[in-house]
Symmetry: C2
Subunit: 79 residues, 2 copies
DNA sequence: ATTTGATGTAAAGTATTTTTTACATAAACA
DNA sequence: TGTTTATGTAAAAAATACTTTACATCAAAT
């Protein structure tokens, strides 16, 4: 039950379906992760490692910022 | 001694010194990490989480791909 | 000379991500 | 009908990232 309110969401599923004909399994194989990991990420369970994020963006053919959305409103205002 | 040969390197130190006058401690405080984490990252000990990578790039004022370099030659060739 | 700030090494513990395994449901189709 | 493919839930174990604590070195400044 690990869960922190991550400030990152992703568009993996949308992009995977819109821009590729990859299944979750095929995407997993290409990025060298497991199907469960892709499934969990698409369900926004947690954010991937930086390396996996790069691999996924690479395979989906999008820049990382298009696939993974960082909400910077958590930041700001720091002296 | 956890260590995998990461395919990711970073330019945190170079950019921090060239574009800001932040110390490791100040950068750590702004991204809400510890100084040890920044130190380890600058020493290329491991890659940060995606969230921390976004935060660091944000504070350094650079896109994430400019700060963190992914070597995609590990990828490619996958049927 | 000694204090202060910045950087560095080290290592144990905590938190988070990823894998592994097992089982469920629904659609497509022989 | 029964088999295969794709997606889903669940949970324990393994791997990796991060924190916490402690101490070391060097440069700058008082």
């Amino acid at each position: 039950m690990g869960g922190k309110k991550t400030t990152i969401t992703n568009h993996i599923k949308r992009i995977r379906l819109a821009r590729t004909d990859l299944t979750q399994s095929e995407l997993a194989r290409r990025v060298e992760a497991t199907r469960q990991t892709i499934l969990a990420l698409e369900a926004q369970k947690y954010a991937p490692s930086l390396e996996l994020a790069f691999r996924i963006a690479y395979v989906l053919g999008e820049p990382i910022e298009e696939v993974f959305i960082f909400d910077s409103s958590d930041m700001e205002a720091r002296v």
